[in-house]
Subunit: 317 residues, 6 copies
């Protein structure tokens, strides 16, 4: 449907496509007439726009948050692109494809899910197998798990990001369990699978990715444990020790109290889970950051959270 | 039953009473004969003891962890008291009174519980009232709640300590809610009541006060939320917003991630709960620390956790 | 006098009222003619303005920092209001009411002061009573104490804020002293009364609220102790121990060295004072922050200092 | 040679074997005669001993740090074993086997080295290959690299520990490079191989494992870069960018300035190296700690550095 | 050559001089025609400029990073100066004087260098003397050492800053060594001389001051040790102990791991070097910050890194 | 008077001299008779002692804290010296010389004071001169200032230590003020002179060095400012700005809030004062620590507060 994305914009383009109207502000020209400043967005970014003609009529027809059909042309203004909008009309959410407006994993969701099913089906420990099956049997959960992001900004911050991150984690868990002897492989895989499931409720991700009230007040760690508890209540005689160690992996996976884990990892499996989560979230987060930066520069700009510039290397030029 | 407590010991006393045998070690004198070093404890403290005669026979009859009937006399040795034990025999747990061996609140448990019931019965918000009632209807919970300690060492570290701390908190909550207008009093009281209930499972407190495996791996914050969830599953239509704010109070009551709260307090009620918990735990912890120190000194010794000496003042001399 | 406040501004209004001229900048239009950009403020906020006509003459008559009489109309420009000023003239500080230009407590200063007098008159300890009386007898102190703010931005950041905060603290001190036995109530009340008196000199608050040079170099904690010392020099035989414990409460009331207390609280009364100061400053600071935010949103924006969003709850909508 | 190790000691044993004389102190009995307190050690631990007879003669023949031939019997004294020494004579370092006196990897050094050679021979990047070869051609380096420990206490703190850790790291590097596309595999393997080589000079490990003066003043990170520089000086035209990225991996492998890295990791390969070093050092360190603890207890004692107890699980009982 | 500097700009000036073209952006006027926004800089600051006429032709002739010959006049626009450019042409780097475009020490480089030579020639310790001489014999090093800055922003952030800082440090080292007996004066002077030499490679400072890739990945501490190693490789029999203590001074001169030193100072000389570096960098950094602020204000604006306002005092008004 | 000091003790010595009885404990031999364990101290250290005969009579005549006249002989017991005491009698504090029992500066107090007077007499600024004179005119202050220590353990922890530290600081202040132009030399010298005067009241140092109650509750920073205030109250028209800057130097001289300064240094003079205090306290503290360590070892033992070993260097062997 949508063919024109903000990331591809060039001065001189003529645009006839759908965007989210993120912001809208009426203003007054020096001659006393109104004009309309707007911000438009799609999954690839945001752009400022301006309406000079029929301002009051156009403005009355749209609200911030609407999907809007835009017709207009691209100028440069003060070192940035600006859309000079000829026409803007609200359009129904029914006709739009959400994945045009939210960033989405570049990988195929169904095939990732198939691979995840396959690895997790190798779990032999009886009760862990039952617990995993309980999640896969929950259609609502599976639907959300396939689309949820793993973050708002930090890493895997796109539709399908939670699945992509979880698959990568489960696969790393398998490799590390094979590397060291004496690891409880099934427990490690179950922990990797379930460590972030609370993110299905911590975020909303229908039209934008943001924290839910429940997410901000309870955190995905606590929500995740509640979700496991709910499934456990349907499994008779789940061994106490296994249950406690599994929940411990979920609650300790941030590694330190400073990062939101009420307890630090106290089993070998929990220690490993914490570090493979660090690897996978950092590799993804740094690479996404690098990908958004000027490809001609060997260094990225300053990453505020990680407090450093990253080096892409001269090989990438 | 037990009449002689370690805190009252004087050189020259003759002892005929029951203690916990905390540690036991066989050793060898220079003349090649064995002797037995032991550590004994009751709710008031610990004392070293030694068996010089019938060593092998005495040693064979007792294991560390047993309750033992001791007969012997008190000497001073290397600036500390030492029990020279004539006889030591295991005795059954049935005949002993646990409260002789664990430190216990100095206040009356039943009358504290009555006062708590009275304050919490003033909660009018329908669903919070139902939730509180669900806890009071759970006999097993009430039994544990009345005896659990609120800490291993830090504060209210004695049988009945959780109840004493909770009653004080609920009462402070009432006062502060009355002080400021616009506080959700019922929510604050419910939060104060439930904030530490996870401690009923975080500790074992039958014969000694120590962390359980579940307590060390899951922490009373997470256990407390699980306990609330279990009761909520029996209450139909509990309002989502109230539920999330109540659980948020439990999980944020340590105030900072560094202290084990996965999220900091984000509502006024959660902010207040955190500070009245600070007041009540510190006032109790510091006073208990002061009470154990030399009453003739205006200053306490150094408190390792709080990293300071405390001043009891010349008025206390 | 002043009838029109910045907070009430609407596009299209015509304005004829007095403001503080916070900033003034001459600039040049492309046609070579000058125009004047200004920032105006009153107790409710700030607004940008512009003078297109008679620029040089208008500009010559006013300096930044002046009270100015403005006549002009309100436009919208770049998503904000802008005053298009027809006339701007300096007016004398004599005719203006400072409370129009500085934010002021919403409560009645005299009745708050009466209540404070009443509570502090209940102090029976002889020398503490003398010390408190020495402050009440100092007319200059009382005048400043009634008007000083308790902060520049953080909490009670308005005229009368110090009095409002002190009254709340003294009242909380009374409640907590009643809650626990064995507290030196008079000492706690005296500490609550005097803990922030240094703020009368740490801030200037005649036409704007800002730090004084003395405040920035010496801090209200040290200034407060100097003020107590000055009064103590007029009281014969003040008991050394009481004096030291009282000053200790002032210097330790921030709780930690990191927060500016040279020593942490080392008496029970100092520990309690620190926490009730935390409660009262946070409750006030968070509520003021909430009150300035969009009333239709359940969450506030991000609070930079407390590093979180706050939840006002759906009940507030 | 040596058949009797301290870890196997039992009361009543008669001993006739070689130990390191770690400490020696003359003391005086109440009857005025001298006796000799000593501490003896081998790779499995330490034991206290005492000489009652021929004290002056025995004492004159040995110095602390000597290897000594001991004859005597094992008693228990004050809850610990004590050697009652009949005879103690110095013996030459020539006749002893150092691996009896230093803890040593449980794995075969030569076969570990073979596996390491094989993996590193898969590096194809020309100059990295040359650099690795330069190290393998350095006989002195190889000798030290095969025996050096990777720590004094923390992890792999035994002869052969550096090799064991390096082999594990290189193998993990290979697995993680295969897991993610787009990693410079050869660079990551070279970094894993060289990241800790400075430890060959940071420690002395001939008769005991301890820091060298150079190690304490310069740190293995800086020593490692010096060692790479020395080899690089023999390789013509080594590409500047590759050299800088490789050294960066060595200097940033502790991850944060707080942990001794002058710069944090700024390339994807350096980020990964840091985390696999965390995994391998923690897994080894925690397991060694667990192995030394009571096998009948599910929890370890408190680990001072990691600030927690670790859970071995009931499955291990 | 260059006579007109940005710091001296006044509205109405006509400009005919050379600048660095830092940024260049084509934009579109509302009438559809292009104009050109540029940023120009010299050693004294930056200024915005605009080209209204012959835009495409002018734009085609220059690239960002070029030295450009500008002709135009100065206007005020939105409270800042703006250059309205009539003509802009690229000019060759040959005809320009770099010191016009980079901020430069206010002191004479050659006479500072003479003084440094004199002090360092007083070093009598044979091998330290040889090492210092090896640096002075390296023409390339001397050339860079005389021009390098000691920082990008923090302190001595100008051409010649490294020399100025080093001279001040060496002189302070001499004074402090004289103040205390028993200091190894020659070692302290050598450490002061060499502590920051890595900055000659950490920064580029030909046309702008910025970090090099090597600087960002390796840090001047490690580069400095490499540079010392390179000179040491040419000096036979340099005493090991002296070498290690000297390098230790370089690597520990930031005082704490948090500030980038892999080890903290462990010798008296290293401890002193760290503190005189603190004094000299802070005194210079704070004074430069003060000098750039409004001379009529007793307080500076907020210094983000040092997290405070500085007081210049009323004496400076 | 006292001729025999603990530091010079050798096995076999017979002792007839005065010590402080630091601790006293009655204990019981296996035969049922009492004996007395004591700890004795003088300025050079502590020694354990034991009384076997006339125990009850000897014990009754002395209390802990007394000066006692001892007669007895030195044995070795368990790797330490032990005094076998024949006779122990209390002796009057009148006949003892306090400097025998407290560690004292190795330098001459009067000549240090003369040098300090000379440097401070060079202060020309009128009001600073008056203030300094006010302190020198205060006989009580001078007496305490000459004997007070500058610390309990950290640095200059001996009688005369405050004077020694202050003299060194004032001299360093002079040197650094001369090094940099534009420093207010008189202010810096006055700050160096007065920065630690609160230590005259923070410590007691008559028979032992320990914190006073006032010292622990108010800290030498606040006490120092009170002492300055007291002198200022006798000087008419002291300039406000000078007063505030001087007090600011005292309160900010610990450099950071974490170290007890309520504000960080905000003037150049305060910044310098903080660093020269760091230099002088660390140089003294580290050297004293080194001096107490084994002179044959190049490394000191671990310094708990500074968290490192220090290197004395091979040159010292």
């Amino acid at each position: 449907m949508k063919k024109y994305f903000i990331t591809d914009i060039k001065a001189g383009d003529f645009i006839d496509d759908i965007f989210v109207l993120s912001e809208k502000n009426l203003a007054q020209k020096k001659d006393g007439n109104n004009f309309l400043n707007v911000t438009l967005s799609d999954k690839t970014g945001t752009i400022k726009g301006v309406v000079w003609d029929n301002v009051d009529q156009v403005s009355a027809g749209v609200s911030s948050g609407d999907f809007v059909h835009i017709r207009g042309s691209v100028n440069e203004y003060r070192e940035a692109f600006q859309l000079v909008i000829k026409n803007m009309e609200k359009c129904s959410a029914d006709v739009i494809n959400p994945s045009d407006f939210l960033p989405t994993t570049s990988r195929d969701i169904e095939s990732m899910f198939e691979r995840l099913l396959k690895i997790t089906s190798s779990v032999k420990t009886v009760y862990l197998k039952k617990l995993i099956q309980a999640f896969w049997n929950d259609k609502e959960f599976v639907r959300e798990f396939k689309t949820a992001p793993a973050g708002k900004k930090m890493h895997h911050a796109y539709i399908g990001g939670l699945l992509e991150h979880t698959l990568s984690m489960v696969s790393l868990a398998e490799k590390v369990a094979g590397h060291y002897g004496g690891i409880d492989r099934d427990l490690l895989i179950a922990g990797a699978l379930l460590h972030d499931i609370g993110k299905t409720k911590e975020f909303e991700y229908q039209f934008r990715i943001d924290y839910t009230t429940r997410g901000r007040l309870l955190n995905h760690i606590v929500i995740g444990i509640e979700m496991v508890d709910e499934k456990l209540s349907g499994i008779k005689d789940f061994p106490e020790d296994q249950m406690v160690m599994l929940k411990h992996m979920i609650l300790s996976h941030h590694g330190m109290r400073e990062f939101g884990s009420p307890e630090p990892p106290k089993t070998i499996e929990a220690v490993i889970l914490n570090y493979i989560d660090e690897i996978d979230s950092k590799v993804n987060g740094i690479r996404d950051f690098m990908a958004k930066e000027d490809p001609n520069e060997p260094w990225t700009s300053y990453h505020r959270l990680y407090e450093r510039h990253f080096y892409k290397g001269k090989k990438n030029q």
